[in-house]
């Protein structure tokens, strides 16, 4: 048994490679040869991990993958436990369908990161594409749990149709964030794009870096939401999320929406340090 199982991409890929299911929880009980024999897909052709990666280590709850994985789909998809560290960028559907554990990408990822995620933590140090934490095509629900923390910016339709869970973004969030949210939370320190929270039922959008609140949301009050304080404190302590005291202590304006039933969603807009807040 070693400290970690490591996969090193040997050469540039000729086509799209899907490594969904190559997860730390699968590698924890497997030998080096068994890990190398795990199935992957190059286009529509079935292949093995060992065809593309050099495998080192065995039977460890920590999996490390290095190389330029920008054309690799499903990095960490389906992870249920353990840790996956990705040293480099990753392609589409990173961390999709996770139910537990940690997937930490030291780079940017493409679209559909954390798609249909149900648990665990997906940490992305770079940027993420469209539909972070959203639903698989045709599904009625997006992510149903877990936490997606992005230190860069994200594209359109973040947390669309989310049922539970968190998408926390240091940078900007693209348009249509929280579209059709059932519940869950989108938090952004950067600006949030057009038409946020359309069709939102009970979800929360926390905007610390600017947002155009749709007319279908009605203002409620200004206050210091205790759950935002808790959330920011937790993110800062666990991930070094750069939320300073002015956000944690801050006053937020609460808007309720989206119009229609049940209309119990909310947009919380940071308006200043709570101890010096304007009325």
């Amino acid at each position: 048994m070693s400290d970690a199982v490591s996969l090193s991409l040997r050469a540039r890929l000729d086509g799209p490679l899907d490594i969904s299911g190559v997860t730390p929880d699968r590698c924890v009980a497997q030998s080096e040869a068994e890990v190398a024999g795990l199935p992957v897909w190059l286009g529509s052709e079935r292949a093995r991990v060992g065809d593309f990666f050099t495998v080192r280590g065995d039977r460890a709850p920590r999996l490390e993958i290095e190389g330029d994985l920008a054309d690799v789909t499903g990095v960490g998809a389906g992870t249920a436990s353990g840790e996956l560290i990705v040293r480099g960028p990753a392609g589409r559907q990173a961390g999709a369908g996770m139910t537990g554990g940690l997937v930490h990408v030291h780079g940017s990822v493409s679209d559909d990161a954390g798609m249909a995620m149900a648990g665990g933590v997906l940490r992305i140090d770079g940027h993420a594409g469209d539909r972070v934490g959203s639903a698989t095509p045709g599904a009625s629900k997006g992510m149903t749990g877990g936490e997606i923390v992005v230190f860069g910016s994200v594209g359109a339709a973040a947390a669309a149709l989310a049922r539970r869970g968190l998408v926390a973004v240091v940078g900007a969030v693209g348009p249509y964030a929280g579209r059709g949210m059932i519940a869950g939370t989108v938090l952004a320190l950067g600006p949030i794009g057009a038409q946020p929270g359309s069709g939102n039922k009970r979800g929360s959008i926390v905007a610390a870096g600017g947002i155009d609140v749709p007319a279908t949301y009605r203002p409620a009050c200004t206050y210091e939401p205790p759950h935002v304080r808790l959330l920011l404190t937790s993110l800062q302590r666990r991930f070094g999320f750069p939320a300073d005291a002015s956000l944690r202590d801050g006053t937020y304006r609460r808007y309720c929406g989206d119009a229609g039933e049940p209309g119990k969603g909310e947009i919380l807009v940071w308006i200043g340090d709570g101890r010096r807040a304007q009325p």
Binding site: L166, L230, L231, S234, R248
Partner: protein, 300 residues
């Protein structure tokens, strides 16, 4: 054994297994955290009549609390798991939910046994309440007139808590007894995992099991340690003792009780105190025996 001229009797404190929870109350200022915690732990000196024993463990800095606000940690002890859940629900609902800016968190996050004590309180929100999950723990946002009250849903339960650690300060007069008791309380104050549930940490009405004169009494005055009854009963008081005060300790572990007793007894050994003793029932009722001379022996 003597410590600074105070005789340490060769006896032991007999204590019982209890269930325990640690509740962290935070608020916008320490004033309001204290206010909520004082009410949370009010009227909780003894399970005999209060259904639980509770007190403030210590104050917490913002670095130590889940939401980075000033806070207070309180410990609550009961005799069984069901009762602990009920007491938490009642007390959090009536004291934290009601207190301006206060929030409530679990202080035993690693305890595998969980009590969903605040789940019932969500219904105060009349379906306007909102659930949020942070780091795997569920919280309830209950709308109130100043904003929202945030309550963690479940609380860890320590099944191996200990209730009824104690020692008796046998003094020449009430002034000496009070001074020694206050010094002991100060020495114990802030010990992790330990509370002193009685007023000011001290009890004057030490009890024995049952009663001589009244059937059905669970407990009655400990006449052997009442100086006014010296000629009327089998007194346990040495000559010259005219006032006795007791410190009762509840803790999350036997080790925590031992450490606190050692600190408290040492502080209580001061002028005007003749002896330190302890209350027990012959060793037949409680599984935890804290022998004074072992506790006050050389540190290991």
């Amino acid at each position: 054994m003597e410590i600074r001229g105070v005789h340490i009797e060769d006896t032991f404190a007999e204590a019982f297994g209890m269930r325990a929870a640690r509740v962290i109350v935070t608020a916008r200022t320490i004033r309001w955290a204290r206010a909520a915690a004082l009410k949370l732990t009010g009227f909780a000196t003894s399970v005999i009549a209060c259904k639980c024993e509770a007190a403030i463990e210590r104050e917490l800095t913002p670095d130590e609390t889940p939401d980075a606000r000033p806070g207070v940690a309180a410990l609550i002890f009961t005799m069984d798991s069901d009762s602990l859940g009920k007491r938490l629900t009642e007390r959090i609902g009536q004291t934290v939910l009601t207190c301006p800016t206060a929030s409530c968190f679990d202080g035993l996050p690693d305890a595998p046994d969980r009590l969903p004590a605040a789940r019932a309180l969500r219904t105060f929100g009349d379906r306007f309440q909102i659930s949020k999950v942070v780091d795997g723990q569920r919280y309830w946002r209950v709308p109130v007139m100043e904003g929202e009250c945030l309550l963690q849903e479940s609380f860890g339960m320590q099944k191996k808590g200990v209730g009824g650690g104690n020692f008796l300060i046998l003094a020449e007069d009430i002034d000496s007894a009070l001074a020694a008791a206050e010094a002991a309380v100060d020495a114990i104050d802030g010990t992790p995992g330990v509370i002193l549930p009685f007023p000011g940490g001290v009890v004057r009405s030490g009890s024995k099991v049952g009663a001589r004169g009244y059937k059905g009494m669970i407990a009655s005055t400990n006449d052997a340690y009442c100086p006014t009854l010296r000629p009327l009963t089998a007194s346990a008081l040495p000559d010259g003792v005219n006032a006795v005060l007791e410190l009762v300790l509840d803790g999350l572990s036997p080790a925590a009780i031992s450490a606190a007793m050692r600190a408290g007894i040492d502080a209580a050994c001061r002028p005007g105190v003749r002896a330190i003793s302890a209350g027990n029932y012959g060793g037949k009722l409680g599984p935890h025996h804290f022998h004074l001379r072992q506790i006050m022996g050389p540190a290991t």
